[in-house]
Subunit: 321 residues, 2 copies
Amino acid sequence: MTEGDRAGPWVVTGGAGAIGSVVVQELLARGGEVRVIDNLASGQRGNLPAPGSGRLSLTVADLKEPARYAAAFDGAHELWHLAANGDIRKGSEDPRLDLENGILATFAALEEARRHDVPRVIYSSSSVVYGFPTVLPTPESYGPLEPESLYAGAKLASEGLCSAFAHTYGLRVFLFRFANIVGPHMSRGVLFDLFEKLAKDPTRLEVLGDGRQAKSYLRTEDCVAGMLLLSERATEPVNIFNLGAADQISVREIAEKVVRAHGGTAKIEYAGGERGWVGDVPKQFLAIDRAVRLGWKPRWSSAEAIDRTIADLLRERGRGP
Amino acid sequence: MTEGDRAGPWVVTGGAGAIGSVVVQELLARGGEVRVIDNLASGQRGNLPAPGSGRLSLTVADLKEPARYAAAFDGAHELWHLAANGDIRKGSEDPRLDLENGILATFAALEEARRHDVPRVIYSSSSVVYGFPTVLPTPESYGPLEPESLYAGAKLASEGLCSAFAHTYGLRVFLFRFANIVGPHMSRGVLFDLFEKLAKDPTRLEVLGDGRQAKSYLRTEDCVAGMLLLSERATEPVNIFNLGAADQISVREIAEKVVRAHGGTAKIEYAGGERGWVGDVPKQFLAIDRAVRLGWKPRWSSAEAIDRTIADLLRERGRGP
């Protein structure tokens, strides 16, 4: 399959989210019809282009209620299943959150794909499936997988469902294990949290953990470009790829960048402890050789991705250039 | 923890099944109270000892209805979660079967363990989580995990849930990836199927696949002894162990043994194809070094396990010694 062959209609769950809306724009640019399903729990209508073109539709529905969105799968050529519970920490307070918005939502989406003979599924998994890996950078073949949070457990469970559907019903699935994705319109994650804290108290910035947590940060555009390219080039029934930057950055460095962007006066205070919160994975660094061999390469390093996203966040708050 | 410290009450889901009932007997022999939860879909009351002792109770309930069995978790020290959909092939006809009796049942059992502060969970996973592995014998660290059937997908999903609950709520979990388990009271599996076929037509025996599928077969007693020993000796929050025989046997050899046990006259006919059915894993052989290092060793080879189980099946049909 070459890029030119790729044709809609496409179904994009979570298409009004920070990553989903970039996927939607890229797919629209390819000329086909894009059908977004989003419950707008964290996604926002404003992230999507105006539906005036007639090639974009939005069904506001929860994936647990297939009757409300099944029609969107009629004649579709690809399912991009990006919807999920976006609040990892909340999952430990209420374990049903990730069961319902992770596992059951994925099952429902796969079932509609199967019923409507949609042959290809792209799924946004996460580096959290690796748990607390003893090998860094971590390759896709790493095991055993021992997820640390309910969110991570739901991601692994969803991978299992995708694989089972692929082998049982002949779908082709593409499972992308994301590093931390940063970019415009994010309403969660370390950068968002730090900005919120400084908005409340510009004099001090409390950082969860000891600041030595080190992770790989990938820009949304790099992430979406990777999914598009690799799902065109990979040909197995089940195709698993890490998507991360080629380097890491520490939470301490991120906090210092954020403080500088706010004038440099806030005092950084570390809450201490190896982890930011229960279920946090303090060291995350993905081996991306497999994706690179197929021709993908992230444009930005982790530090550059953070810098660009700090600029986005300032702009979104009316304080950027 | 030494063997002497182990104390009930124990909750055993699927305790009326072929494996569960052996677990129940072993736990009763240790002197504590055993509370079985079983929906009797494939388990049978007759597999359990008479409840006269007062130390054994049976709650006939489906794991999806916690209100009907939650009381069994009061004060329990261990959950043995062995209940599952036992019919792998049926899962491909109705994908909800493994979702409900695999994933949702595991979630419900873990939730009750968490709510009742049950500190330890033993879970019967399966070698099927490895999919169609490229490394044989397959170690616990093998990846990526690409399950082939809905049953296998549900096992991987359940492992993910166990791991997430362990790390989030401080439970200790023991995940056992079983080879094919054979023993008395089985109502499924290759031996059971071959016996059923010969009962219908003693002149010919149709074998699914080309007969060259080769797998490791472990006796129930070896399997249960392994779970007991390893869950006493392993000390991580998440402990994953393969449990299999130290060798393999082909389906052809098994069919020939079954025919000999029936007088040796039936003609064996191979349906052909590498796999027995959609989702079948034709080559399965588990590395058991990790369990062996902690002191476990299967008593019987695959061929011996098959021989003993053929004798059991003949006896159960009133034709044995």
